[in-house]
């Protein structure tokens, strides 16, 4: 193995490629979060709703999505879904950054299932008498949820949600299979162009690790700042 050359990571075209990859990965993280968080909340509310059909739908979504690896989701979204779309929509999709769109959709829908479970268990950890009391003083179901249950559940759910965000971050690496130009892909490109595999992978590893540690730090800060209040 040739000696480690930090210079190529600090400037030059390889540096630019890797930084572009990191930026792309961070964008996937942000967009994935924007998609999965509301969707996860929606599914969690479905699973807790008083209607049986909605509960079954939510449970199906969670079980099906969680049982299939992210890689299969990616392949399905990238190869399968465009074929199912009407032609006009398909062409519009291929005009845009199709890899990125499919990657974000796959990651978002995948993570939403996990987030739904975290939100649901957080809400269920709030004693049921809270809901009963809220209903008894005349609040409708949704108001009771919003004003009484959710504020208490948030302290319980945010730490596991942050840990799901960490998984989301690590999951963005899988987008490389559909050729999305995120960090893993760029590291592979740099590796094959410069034959400097050690440097390229060291950069990617440190970047993944750095963001992961930041997310972990955020979780422990939150737990310290907003501890769970028990009844």
């Amino acid at each position: 193995m040739t000696s480690f050359d930090p210079q190529m990571l600090l400037s030059g075209q390889y540096h630019d490629m890797l930084m572009a990859g990191l930026w792309m990965s961070l964008q996937y993280l942000a967009f994935g979060l924007c998609l999965s968080l509301p969707l996860g909340l929606l599914i969690a509310l479905c699973r807790l709703s008083p209607f049986k059909a909605l509960r079954a739908l939510g449970a199906c979504y969670v079980e099906v999505v969680r049982s299939i690896p992210l890689l299969a989701h990616m392949l399905f979204w990238y190869f399968g879904v465009p074929e199912l779309l009407p032609t006009a929509l398909k062409e519009a999709l291929y005009e845009g950054p199709v890899e990125s769109i499919c990657a974000v959709l796959a990651i978002g829908f995948y993570t939403a299932a996990y987030m739904a479970e975290d939100i649901r268990s957080g809400i269920r950890a709030v004693p049921p008498v809270q809901l009963e009391a809220a209903r008894a003083i005349g609040l409708p179901y949704l108001r009771a949820m919003r004003l009484v249950i959710l504020p208490q559940a948030i302290r319980l759910t945010v730490p596991p949600l942050i840990s799901q965000t960490l998984n989301l971050w690590k999951g963005t690496s899988i987008a490389t299979v559909i050729g999305a130009a995120e960090m893993m892909y760029q590291a592979g490109q740099v590796e094959s162009q410069s034959f400097r595999s050690f440097e390229a992978f060291a950069f990617a590893s440190i970047a993944y690790l750095g963001v992961s540690l930041a997310i972990t730090g955020l979780a422990s800060w939150f737990q310290h700042r907003y501890p769970v209040r028990t009844m």
């Binding site: 049982s67 299969a72 399968g80 074929e83 199912l84 596991p160 992978f201």
Partner: protein, 237 residues
């Protein structure tokens, strides 16, 4: 769809097996089972080190666990793929590369499961055993671990599910497991990507959902027997 299954079903299940290397779903299962079995002892050792009272043992292992858990599995696979040959000097094939990456990766997660199991037990168990005169390691082996491991059995099954899902990353280094085969079938058929990848998803679903029901049943049985009173904190997969 039926035509597809008739033509490529066997290929999907076992790859080119009788006339070539084993692949497909069979390889996925073998890889996942071997990965979990080999990482069990390692994970147990790491978990014990992680809760040990000796800092010089705890420190490096904690560092290792943070390192592995902070990286995507794909990164670990790439490191194994590119650097195992240059360290050992032997060209490692995809199967062993993937297996080694899986073992290293899973060991870190199993260590956290073991740790959660141990720390989920009431502290009195250890204190009692120590005050009866058992040395630390004996107390761990005869009193704490049997209870802790039984409580973390459901987490172990969940980890097995994760491992099955993780084997799909073998696709990227060209290991002929089930996702890779599905992609090959997709290239051969060309016109039915949604069906092929739908079938792939369905296969994983049947496998993992069955196992997760099994874990769920086990969790319930443990709770009924009163062993799960201090349910181990969930370890994120």
């Amino acid at each position: 769809m039926l035509e597809l299954i008739q033509q490529y079903g066997l290929y999907f299940l076992i790859g080119q097996y009788p006339s070539g290397p084993l692949g497909g779903l069979a390889l996925t299962l073998i890889l996942a089972a071997m990965g979990l079995l080999l990482s069990l002892p390692l994970g147990l050792a790491f978990g014990l080190m992680r809760v040990s009272p000796w800092g010089w043992l705890r420190g490096p292992v904690t560092g290792f666990i943070y390192l592995v858990r902070g990286m995507p599995l794909l990164m670990v696979v790439f490191w194994a793929y590119f650097f195992l040959p240059s360290i050992t000097g032997v060209k490692t094939d995809q199967f062993w590369t993937m297996l080694i990456a899986l073992v290293v990766f899973d060991a870190a997660y199993l260590a956290e499961i073991v740790r959660a199991g141990i720390q989920g037990l009431p502290r009195g168990q250890m204190e009692c055993a120590r005050s009866l005169g058992l040395p630390y390691l004996r107390a761990m082996r005869s009193v704490v671990l049997p209870q802790a491991l039984r409580n973390s059995l459901p987490s172990l099954v969940n980890q097995f599910i994760s491992t099955i899902k993780e084997t799909s990353l073998g696709y990227i280094i060209g290991l002929t497991e089930v996702s890779f085969i599905a992609n090959q079938i997709n290239t051969l058929v060309f016109t039915k990507p949604a069906e092929v990848f739908g079938a792939l998803g369905f296969t994983y679903f049947v496998l993992c959902f069955g196992l997760s029901r099994f874990a769920h049943g086990m969790e319930r049985r443990l709770a009924r027997r009163g062993l799960g009173s201090h349910i181990a904190p969930k370890v994120a997969a």
